[in-house]
Symmetry: D2
Subunit: 334 residues, 4 copies
């Protein structure tokens, strides 16, 4: 039995992680920790949650666990990771702290000196379908961001192919409101969001951009730059990315589909949709799956990619990573 | 031209008032005031609002207006009312400060000593259809609460009749989220409200209860007590109240309908629905109307009553009251 | 392994049943049948469903199953039940066909002569918490309606007690749109439902009324009549019932709570909420649970009761019943 | 007073037109017609509509009007236009029948031989800000599609400039459900749309594509092709288009903004947003306005453009066109 501790259990991602781990046949939750809500139970905060007692982070019984999940704000996550690793525990970090390998880029985008730059090289960027060979025995996994998961899974087979690209790559994405966290803010007020749809931080302004470009660069030297336009959807959860990639030469859709089939056939959590079908949130909500549609129009490949931001985009992929770290079937618990 | 000033213009009610007054052919907005947002414009706060400059309340040019609308928290409203009345201005107060005639009851329900108890006797409780005879020349109008407007307009013809009543009156109401104001809170967070429906402060716990019982008592000595169960709806705006009144003797629906027809025929903003039709938010949203349905089942009269909480339940009724105060047709501006 | 067949698998209830049974460790889906969609797969109809082939009802391999679930319209369900029972199969009927014991009442409310009145006496009314003693070995279970499940679980401990009641009982309920089925209709059109809230068939007009009164009468001779006011909520799923029961004598809430504790302590799917807490959809959505709140105000007990209409109100309770029929722990598969 | 008749008044666009014309100080509604609902009133179909009697189209008193608005399906609209023009009436057609100047293209996209190709040359494509010089005295106005209005207003200043473009132009758009009409369909069922977001007919598959490319071609010879990806939003109304235009040479945002200011300064219904602000539905819902944001990122200009699909995208622009046809200020009635 894998014994797991969760830091920052009182947000939407933490709750989702609790739900998944509670049903997981090979894992137990040893503790749930919260800075601000210690002394309460999770049930005090969520009407459908189990009544797990919340402990303060520093009081969490680290000795009792094998692995910790960090659902903390950036910087706080890295600091807790240092403590957990020093205690010999494995870490799956759901914050952004170990996603960028370059501490200077981290400092630029997160406006904070990295608390543990010495760990950046070791951290595995946990897009499970890509990194699974590195997971068994890994000490530190940087769980990908929600938008990057939807965009990168869709781009990967194309970028890893020899198909020549012309630039830029455009990812037009829309996310449900849980992606913004549970802390009340005007931007997540029901009256502001309902009946609305809005673009924000478009172009090259969102913190998930460097994370995506890092992976893109790993997969294809000299890849075109990425433009990323997030939008806020009036739904609780889910991300749909519609991605436009211009090819540098003529192609046919069947050949491109073959690339995707080769990459994803047999993947339990990635579904390449049949010709003519485009992705929607309904394909994936409340699951750990990613649905990917392909449509070639002239020389532009339009990819549609849907995930549940709280599951494949966060807690689900974290457990998928844990499964791979411990040699379990990745689908265990789902 | 009536010159109007608005205090507390940065909430949902204030914005609605600005929209109505801007279209009003016989009124002008002289100023919009805000404690916290002075120096900005209303357009900085709402993407569809006009760019009216916000002044701090104490800096508002009271001399330039005939009437002020108070969209302030309770207590703050009464304090501003004192200043405005002292300056010879008329006041339409959209807070709860002048709705209860009994200062002790106010202190009990609002947990605050009333700042201006000497004005309570003078204030007109502004359910326009009921109080319009008192409005011309009134100095101070207490605009009714949103829930009370929906419940009281539905109950009034019955309570003012001789039909004998038994047993508690039950008002089961549901409101859109704008009723909770624009200040961010977990209870108005999109993810908490969407896909949800919840009861709160049921029975005799909500502050609108004494306001409703005061009016009920005015209309019928010895009326049964009221039970009031508010619910939070996943919609931006609108209130639907389903009200159960048990009669003490047999009756027939046609006679009861005649009471309502007598009370409301010719009312521009009250629609008594035909037999078999029940009220819904769709009857009234974005209008100043109240739709009332009647269904007699055995000895229980089931009333359904719908309003837009921001219009007939707040800003719209405030302007309707202003119209009556100044001798205009009540429908002016709608 | 229990082998199950599902008739009428292409509605929301059928899909939910497929999802539950697919995760069920002691049951297998042997077939899914559909009158209108035979030849397609379930995945053709729902983007997240498994690709189970749909067969026409008459072509379904009845021999291969132990139990059938009927998610069919009334009358069609009874006709299929006759066939299945004749073949020696157990039947869990999610339609209304076997809920009313009185064929004349059925004919009145469903406007149709009952196709199999000889089975009415045998059918077990499957409110699991109440009927579980009758389930092992039962051939025919009438799965309760969604509204009745929410109302009856809340009323049962009170009705089965000696606490004297004065009438009537008022159940003010609100349901998500999936309760109306998947067939397109103006009343379930997104634009008509979103931002709206409406009452319909209030008083004594809804088909679930006789079903509820039948159970109430079983539990308390001479119980007061029921008034039932359903409302349509702009949410996909969930039912919240706010129920008002007037007591004939003074009582205290602690004594009433003791009745509910005695009735439901240890129940895996019924949660009696602590004092001061009222039920909401968020307590139960996507679960097989029923959350019940109690608030005594004067002599009126206000019960709030929430379920997921598709799970505890339909497919979940059906599987809970199947579990009990076959001697499994009722929680198996959840 | 302009006397107006409305054909096809029972859809969402027709209702919106009725609302606008009822408030219009210089227009009267002479009749509302419906093929399927003749004999009813509009109030029978919409709970907040006025009780205007619906006549069958052939029975409509054409003699009594100056102008007719056609809210009919394509082909039916052209046939009615022929009748109205023969009677000497002006026509504002809200269908697609007169938008494409090429009858062959119409036949291809609408799968129907054009009923009145001889009128195509005369019809004014009614994007008011562009065509207003042609409107006084026009007999036949083809009101633009909703998506095209949002996309074309955003593209026009750039396309009419000398700024060189590289291709393709990508318009990623999202629309509320009222754009799909009021006829019930699974794709507009509340449960299918709520909590969902989906792409459909992406690339070069939607009927609004040729309409947009026709205008683009008029404004810029040799313009790049358009890719258009519509999405369905879980909101009743509103369109947001995020548009990517790659420039063929470096540019700076200030120069591009100057183009937009020159094009739209003084326009009552077009708002070019300040630097850093992107468009949202909240900028425009329930208004006749279009809000346009500009963000230059490298050589890609990202335009965000929002309209209310039922108003600026349909009924509102139709009245704006009528105003211009009759020499009224375009803002009359808004």
């Amino acid at each position: 039995m894998i014994r797991a501790g969760i830091y920052g259990a009182t947000g939407y991602t933490g709750l989702e992680l609790v739900k998944i781990l509670q049903r997981h046949p090979a894992a137990d939750i040893a503790f749930v920790a919260s800075r601000s809500q210690a002394g309460k139970t999770l049930r005090d905060l969520f009407p459908a949650a189990p009544a797990l007692p919340l402990v303060a982070g520093p009081d969490a019984p680290l000795d009792s666990v094998d692995v910790v999940f960090l659902c903390l704000p950036h910087a706080a996550a890295a600091e807790t990771a240092l403590v957990a690793l020093a205690a010999g525990k494995c870490v799956v970090d759901l914050s952004a702290d170990f996603r960028l390998r370059d501490a200077a880029s981290y400092a630029h985008w997160y406006n904070h000196t990295h608390p543990a730059p010495e760990l950046l090289a070791e951290a595995v960027y946990g897009l499970t379908e890509v990194c699974r060979a590195e997971l068994p025995g890994a000490r530190l996994v940087a769980n990908p961001g929600c938008y990057p998961t939807s965009v990168l899974l869709a781009l990967r087979p194309l970028l890893c192919s020899a198909v020549p690209l012309a630039g830029p790559i455009i990812a037009d994405s829309a996310s449900g409101v849980s992606g913004a966290g549970r802390t009340p803010a005007l931007t997540s007020h029901f009256v502001e969001v309902a009946d609305n749809f809005s673009a924000y931080k478009i172009g090259r302004a969102h913190r998930h951009l460097p994370e995506m470009e890092q992976a893109i660069g790993d997969w294809r030297a000299g890849a075109p730059p990425l433009l990323f336009s997030p939008h806020l959807l009036p739904v609780p959860r889910g991300i749909l990315s519609t991605i436009y990639v211009t090819l540098a030469a003529d192609a046919n859709e069947a050949d491109l589909r073959a690339l995707y089939a080769a990459a994803y056939d047999g993947e339990p959590f990635v579904e390449v949709l049949p010709p003519g079908e485009t992705a929607s949130l309904a394909h994936v909500t409340t699951t750990n799956r990613c649905a990917i549609g392909l449509t070639l129009v002239g020389r532009t490949l339009i990819l549609t990619s849907a995930i549940d931001n709280l599951i494949k985009g966060a807690a689900g992929q974290a457990v998928q990573n844990m499964n791979a770290m411990y040699g379990l079937d990745e689908t265990t618990g789902f």
